[in-house]
Symmetry: C2
């Protein structure tokens, strides 16, 4: 009998969504958020995400940082669509031996991120997992994006330049707990330059760039020497570590972009790392993080 181990996350999702009614979402499963048209002035964005103890954070991690991370990951997904989050729900599945202090610090960490991005918690659920089971934290959120601003993974065109914010790799040295979602940057991009495709880097560029290219019906060519490395990281780590939560986006070549970016965000690197090609042409990348796949 086939097990989840050894099956890629993308393949699994494709098999599962065929089994349920999914309605007429504007962006399908596989994008950073679900996009729904309610007929209102804006489109509605919906997202669910989970953190597992021992996978996304260690037992000894600072619960305030875990709380920050749990919310910031989701904020990053809304940024990747060109939109913004508004309301959050949290589910904590915890062993009964968890200290109340841990949970309170976790909430304080979430609260810091809620305040930073002007969002609110509207509901939650706390339930018990058997002793010895990993804690699971599930965060869901709703938000919006203007109809003219929504960016999916599938709009990239052959010839578009591929850009990435920040520096990549080294997430496990602690960055994955304290990163800054690029919400302001993404909002600026959709207002002034309108990327053709965009996503946030959660599983490493080696896994995420092929996803974006495939969704856009393209191949890609990257300039390995241009990949911005985090301090102390080599190229492999930059490509495969995952949890960078930087923006990866495509755009027809624009001489203005870098100039205006550096003026607006002088402290955050923006790097052109390659371009989209005809499907089948260009590079192949493998590696990166897959929840169930064989790495």
């Amino acid at each position: 009998m086939k097990k989840l181990d050894g099956m890629g996350e993308d393949e699994l999702i494709a098999r599962l969504v065929a089994l349920v009614p999914t309605g007429e979402a504007v962006a399908g499963p596989g994008d950073d958020c679900a996009v729904v048209d309610d007929g209102g002035a804006d489109l509605v964005l919906l997202k669910t995400d989970a953190l597992v103890e021992g996978v996304h954070f260690l037992n000894e991690a600072d619960p305030r940082q875990v709380g920050w991370k749990a919310v910031a990951r989701v904020v990053s997904d809304f940024a990747a669509m060109g939109g913004f989050p508004e309301r959050f729900l949290v589910t904590l599945a915890l062993p009964g031996s968890t200290s109340v202090e841990w949970v309170e610090h976790f909430y304080r960490g979430m609260g810091t991120c809620f305040d930073r991005y002007g969002v609110v918690l509207v509901g939650g659920e706390t339930c018990r997992v058997p002793e010895g089971s990993s804690a699971v934290i599930s965060i869901s959120a709703t938000g919006r994006v203007e109809r003219g601003s929504v960016v999916t993974r599938s709009g990239g065109n052959v010839g578009d330049a591929i850009w990435v914010t920040g520096k990549l790799g080294g997430s496990l040295k602690g960055k994955h707990l304290v990163f800054t979602p690029r919400l302001e940057e993404a909002r600026w991009l959709v207002e002034y330059f309108k990327p053709t495709a965009m996503m946030d880097l959660s599983d490493g560029i080696a896994r995420d760039l092929p996803r974006l290219a495939k969704a856009s019906g393209c191949g890609f060519l990257i300039d390995r020497a241009a990949i911005p490395l985090s301090e102390g990281c080599d190229l492999r780590q930059a490509l495969e570590d995952g949890e960078d939560f930087e923006l990866l986006f495509t755009l027809p070549d624009s001489p203005e972009l870098l100039v205006q970016w550096q003026h607006k965000f002088p402290e955050l690197k923006l790097t052109k790392i390659g371009r989209l090609m005809e499907m089948g042409a260009g590079d192949r990348l493998s590696g990166g993080w897959d929840h169930f796949g064989l790495l």
Copy 2:
């Protein structure tokens, strides 16, 4: 250091919500759904809920029934507010040794419930828990309720009759996996009789009725002989088993209600079990299900 074990869920939630920004929700934490006013024609309802293997379902349970239950619990929460669900998100945190077949059957079970209630799945997340950890399933949903139809737990008044649908107790004999959320019934009630307070019975009437009464600033008196017992159940089981997912609601005495109910829903029992009293007067109930409390 204080542990979650021994702390009541209600007390825990009250401590936690004080630590984060919660905005101006119409109904606060502790109600069946969060209610948000977006300025639209209807109010927005949001809900998150979780199932834990070994707590809410056993490893050997039929995954199709688990999928049904996961969705039906949430449908029941929307019914309890007088509203209806529209869009669902699902997070599965599973060991890698889980069979793909199990997950597919789980999705089919969800799909049956989605079809039954005319709702759709718009997003999901699948992640791995360490081997030996319990599976955790988290379901979130958005929905709506007309401004004139929303019912919370807090609107009950002294003298209101207390009603309950169906029969209570015996959930562990299998009912908890195959129950029918009372969505149609709740929608009929808010249209024709407008309950003053309503909730669904998830933790047993012994725990849930005191919650409704407290939220309404009332006490309560119940007629133990009137409690509708599931076949083979005694009063204690009916009061404490939990997971009945029947509607509990209050309403000024109305001779018309039972007559019209029996005409509209001839196969579903409706029983007056008592009335709301001045706070401090009447009965006390204890027992029922608490995720962390000492039972």
